[in-house]
Amino acid sequence: MNYSELTQRYFETAPGAGTLGPGAARGAAGSRAQGTWVQFELQIDAPGGRIAAARFLAFGCPHTIAVAAWVAEAAVGRLPQPALPEGVQALRRRFDLPVEKLGRLLVVEDAWLAAMADAGVKS
């Protein structure tokens, strides 16, 4: 398996891996038993405010970890929205994801949507 330079870098550094603790909005998707599980925690200080901090956890392939890390990083400073900071197809291109791995991206998206729902953002 060859990974793009960006995938490799986010997989290796995994910025934002971890949790924020009580008070953060949290959402997860997938399952470890199925091979891919992702969780996001977002800190939104004021209702209607921007995302102040974001963390992720991921059990999955390097692409899954890299994309989750990138999404968490990209989330900071944005207004909470039900859409990912970047759409699934754009992420696929950005990380040069093989087509058979598209399912993993959908898990990332589902985890994001779950976190948004937890934060009270309507989709």
Binding site: F11, G18, R32, A33, G35, A58, F59, C61, P62, I65
Partner: protein, 396 residues
């Protein structure tokens, strides 16, 4: 350890994938080089009209004697092939087809190499029945299981000696005794992984057919042998027809340098009696280091495994990420990558009862003649760091 120094400015990974293939021993490479160019023994060993051919044939026969001696066979029982894949195919198809009128039932095991399983599947397509034995959780096949599986029309039993993924050793002599009592069933043993890891005695074990490979024991890729017992007048249908070489069982020009390399590799391995304890100590150190990581499972019965192999599953770690995290430091095989393009959880580990996740999150460490204590330390450190990091990312 650099596979291609000019291309690898960073330190090359430690090579712990000797069960996939091994570097050729320099002594073997030197013998091979003698059989290539104009200055060497380049004749066709089948050309009996001149001394170039005769010299080559002498080398071929010397190599045959070396392989026979190392495996406990007679030189006349050695049939050169292009590797253990061909030897397995020749054994399975050759015996099944030759004895088709005596029956069309074959017994093998779920944990065999694909070079046995795939020919068995093909036999099924051709109308044979195949029984696939399921090993115990340690990987062992009880001779009693073989006994119970034999039917009146069983003509062939194919059980490997040393498993290539977990290193478990089967009790071949006991299985041979079961087949001998049955009378009709012939025993083929895939011993591609055995030489240099576990003593083989073809004659004493009472085996009918045995597959060998050179490149798993510091010999060249692309050469192997099928041992065909002469004691029981065993017959085979050839797979490949032509010049009539190898008693008509395997036509095709015998590649002198290749078989010379195999002969030398087998002679060296047979002579290297101190190698087992040395490697066992390294393997033990490796296991000790990995076990300390915590939540790791050893695959295959530890007490019944060759020293060169250690297969470990890591809980709460995803397989592909584990490989990606260690591959810059350690070259190993995993339970999810396999030689073929298909990426599936190892069917061998699945047969032992491991779930899909644990099968995928396994690493096979295979040691060889050139593995050093330093290699082991690098591997332990790299794997420990990777597992810790991935578990942290997974919140596990």
């Amino acid at each position: 350890m650099s596979p291609d120094a000019a291309r690898a400015p960073m330190t090359a990974p430690v090579y712990l994938d000797n069960a996939a293939t091994t570097p050729v021993d320099p002594r073997v490479a030197a013998r091979m080089a003698e059989c290539l160019t104009e200055a060497g023994v380049y004749g066709n060993p089948g050309s009996d009209a001149h001394e170039f051919g005769e010299r080559a044939a002498e080398r071929v026969e010397r190599a045959r004697a070396q392989v026979a001696a190392a495996a406990g066979a007679e030189p006349g029982e050695v049939i050169w092939t292009s590797g253990a894949t061909e030897a397995n195919n020749l054994a399975v198809f050759g015996a099944a087809h030759y004895y088709r009128d005596a029956g069309r039932h074959v017994v093998t095991a779920r944990t065999e190499h694909r070079a046995v399983l795939d020919p068995c599947r093909e036999l099924e397509r051709r109308g044979w029945r195949v029984t696939y034995l399921v090993p115990d959780s340690g990987g062992g096949i009880d001779p009693g299981q073989v006994q119970a599986a034999l039917q009146g029309d069983t003509t062939l039993v194919s059980i490997m000696h040393v498993n290539n993924e977990i290193g478990v050793v089967q009790d071949i002599a006991a299985i041979a005794a079961v087949c001998a009592r049955h009378g009709v069933a012939r025993l083929h043993v895939d011993a591609a992984q055995s030489m240099g890891k576990c003593a083989i005695d073809f004659g004493a074990a009472g085996v009918d057919l045995m597959s060998l490979s050179a490149h798993k024991v510091h010999g060249p890729k692309g050469v192997g042998a099928l041992l065909v017992s002469r004691r029981r007048d065993l017959q085979l249908q050839a797979l490949q027809f032509g010049g009539g070489q190898e008693r008509g069982l395997r036509s095709g020009t015998v590649p002198t340098h290749q078989v010379v390399g195999m002969g030398e590799a087998f002679a060296l391995a047979a002579a290297a009696t101190a190698e087992g304890p040395r490697v066992a100590a390294l393997r033990d150190r490796l296991w000790q280091g990995l076990e300390a990581i915590g939540r790791v499972l050893r695959n295959g019965a530890a007490q019944n495994t060759v020293p060169q192999l250690l297969n470990v599953s890591f809980e709460e770690v995803e397989g592909e990420s584990l490989l990606a995290a260690v591959r810059a430091q350690v070259a190993v095989s995993t339970g999810s990558a396999c030689a073929s393009a298909a990426r599936e959880p190892s069917y061998v580990l699945r047969a032992l009862g491991r779930d899909e996740r644990l099968a995928e999150s396994s690493l096979r460490f295979s040691l060889g003649r050139f593995t050093t204590p330093q290699d082991i330390e690098v591997a332990v450190e790299a794997v420990a760091a990777a597992v810790a990091r991935l578990r942290r990312i997974a919140g596990a």
